[in-house]
Amino acid sequence: MIMSLMADELVRFSSVLRIAYNFLGGRDYLKRKKFREKKKLISVALPFSDLAFIAGTVPVFPIRMQIFEINKYLRYLGSASNIFGWNRVSDFLGFVKNLGIGELSKLIDDIIDEVIDTINKKYNEMYDLGIESGIPSDFCYGIKSLYGMHTSKIKNVEATLNFTIRCSAWNKYLESLKTIENTSQQIWIDIPPRNIGNSLELLTENLSKAVEKLELITGKSVSDNDMRTHFQIGNQVKKSYKTILYEISTSDFYPCNPATFSEILALLSITFQDYNSDAKRYAENLSFLVNEMRERIRKGIGMDVSKRPKILVTPMFGGWPPESHEIIYELGGRAIYADWDILYLLEEIDVSSSSNPLEEYARFLLKATEHGIGCDNNTLTNSYVRIAKKIDADGLVFIQLFGCHSVSNCYTMLKEKIRQDLEIPSIALTFNKIGENVEQVNTRLGAFMEMF
């Protein structure tokens, strides 16, 4: 089973159930927003949803427009939560589980297993659709899947929000969305490749123009306050995310089993791209998650992980072998996913009243370009090393994504820096598609984990 979550541990994380439900139930939610509330949907990918939120549109990571087979019990939980609230639903589940009612406990296990399994299956389905629709198989998992996600659904969005980054395949993929029948408007935001001269000013203007286009879509104007309000929520999300990454994931005691913890990180990585289309709700869920984790640690519920080496597994946002964290767990380690901070996308944005919020957003994007996604692999590899240091990683597993010419092709340079600066073991795993090469991943990770 791919990426099976340890449901025993998860049942008390109602916030995780919420995040999962909000992800899988996206289609109904988005339909409601679009048809009942007359909101405009904007397609986003990578964590570039801010402008869409600011403009009062609904950002959507396009896979969420697809139909997911949601376990009927999770659907029931979702509906029940609308009436009773998530906390009470979660308490009920915990109660049932503590009573040891086997049948129901098994159902809960199944629910959580299916959540993750469903996401992975859908990703693979989108990957196949991407190829069938004309994207050559030589492109990376992420691009093929993203194109596939748009093929039948792009007609539902008013626009795609296209940020140029250094990855040429990404930029060209965005252009290629124009080839889809009934395609939508494209709103481009050119991020200057380097922070030189008045690049900041230029990017601020580019962002401003994009906001104007979004305003035309909604018919409503955006104020500085709207921007600050959203960035404040975004900062809250990032704070919670970083707390999970740096306070919880580096501690000696985990609020759950380490494989479950990794799966929560994986779920956060996926959902962070559009905040499940509702920034406020997502920020609340993340805040709850932090509280739930801290509370469990305080009560001593969870697992001592002090002897388990911390393995930074990266980059995984464009596709990765999801079984890797389970293997690492079984072999005595704990896998940590921290891509968005590696790419400098968890930096907070200045929302002080004296600041120009759009300029601050431009500053955030330029910093990501300058230090994270990077002008080149030298910068990028520095950032991998930075995060490995920050979490005090004992090892690093580098996912070399087939067809990726950008963030996952720099292992040689990274390996050198790891040897010089960190002196920890590292290994590269090649990845093409979920479910492929499971044996190879098993063998290589087995050999790697023997080093600890």
Partner: protein, 378 residues
């Protein structure tokens, strides 16, 4: 077979320039590099425009994964293996890292870092808006300052204008040559040589044109005429032989080693009117609508351009053209659009072969078969 004579001549040419005290700037041969700026600063631009082979590609795997653009792999391989006939690469004093595509960045960075060649930067926006043009100006100023700092003297506007004019005239001459009805492989060799040597080749080019004009009826074409678009055919690449052996003659090189280079001429009026010559590069970039770097209109512009070429050729000669879209394996820009490109042109009745390949010898047979099958169909 490697054109050893060409490489040897080029080696001597560079040696001579080095002896004159010139510094050499290497870069991966793609769009939008302001070689006139190098020339005005007293530098010699050296385009990496050499086709690869199995050994070169394999050597690059020490630095980048095999799923990297085969051309970028081969460029790294040249520095890693240092083949005898490419010894002149040791003359390179600086390497320009640019972002035509991400493989360009990564390969250039590796060449600079691992082969100890000081680095220069020149990055270009992906879109063409007023702000991206303004950004290009920043990059040009930055590059100019860096060149001046290396040379310890200012690059005067007058010198830059003279260089721009020199390259302009050179490109005009290449355009004149391109109009001649010459066998595709011969034409390619001359275009390649011209791009390699730059305007120093101008006098030779004039003689060549003269010679061809005098013997205008020498070439009797019994092959099928095709346009080559997509990725360039680089020096010593066997693909041109396979295409001709398969029964095609390339009448038009719609690639960077071809029309995309020499069609980018800055008008004389603009040169006269513009006070800051750096703006001329900005203007050229803005007009370069067929370059594959830019988004979001590359595909539609390219299709419109091919259709235009097709119709013009048909009107002029009464013959139909087919299109070979040359795709070097793992080239992001050309590859991702290939199926859409083909479908759109085929809908207009123009046959297209998406010819994807790397530089390995093992693929030769398969490539020949594909070319032959395509040509039989048209």
């Amino acid at each position: 077979m490697e054109d050893l004579e060409l490489l040897s001549d080029f080696s001597s040419f560079l040696k001579e320039k080095k002896e004159e005290g010139k510094k050499i700037i290497g870069f991966i041969s793609h769009d939008n590099i302001p070689e006139e700026l190098f020339d005005a600063g007293g530098f010699i631009p050296l385009r990496l425009m050499f086709g690869g082979n199995d050994d070169l590609m394999t050597a690059s795997h020490d630095f980048l994964p095999p799923s990297t653009c085969a051309f970028a792999q081969s460029c790294i391989g040249l520095f890693s293996l240092k083949p005898r006939s490419y010894k002149f690469l040791e003359f390179i004093d600086y390497f320009l890292v640019s972002n035509h595509c991400v493989s360009d960045i990564c390969a250039s960075e590796i060449i600079s870092k691992y082969f100890n060649i000081p680095r220069l930067n020149f990055y270009i926006s992906y879109t063409k808006t007023n702000n991206s043009l303004t950004y290009l100006k920043l990059e040009l100023q930055d590059l100019k300052q860096n060149l001046e700092s290396i040379m310890g003297s200012k690059i005067e506007n007058e010198d830059l204008l003279n260089s721009i004019k020199k390259y302009n005239n050179f490109k005009k001459k290449l355009l004149e040559f391109n109009k001649l009805y010459v066998k595709g492989s011969e034409k390619l060799k001359i275009i390649q040589k011209a791009l390699l040597f730059g305007p120093d080749f101008h006098p030779t080019l004039e003689n060549i044109i003269q010679k061809y004009k005098e013997n205008s009826n020498d070439f009797e074409n019994t092959s099928k005429d095709v346009i080559l678009t997509g990725c360039s055919i680089f020096i010593n690449d066997y693909i041109i032989d396979l295409i001709e052996e398969g029964g095609a003659n390339i009448v038009f090189y719609d690639t960077w080693i071809g029309n995309s280079y020499f069609s980018q001429i800055i008008s004389d009026d603009l040169i006269e009117a513009e006070k800051d010559p750096l703006n001329l590069f900005v203007h050229r970039f803005n007009k370069n609508i067929y370059g594959d770097h830019s988004v979001p209109n590359f595909l539609e512009n390219k299709i419109a351009q091919i259709l235009d070429m097709y119709h013009q050729y048909k009107q002029k000669t009464g013959k139909k053209l087919a299109v070979i879209n040359h795709i070097i394996k793992f080239c992001d820009h050309i590859s991702i659009m290939s199926s859409f490109f083909k479908n759109k042109l085929q809908d207009q009745g123009i046959p297209v072969l998406n010819l994807e390949r790397d530089y390995s010898k093992a693929n030769k047979g398969q490539l020949s078969t594909r070319i032959e099958a395509f040509l039989e169909m048209i």
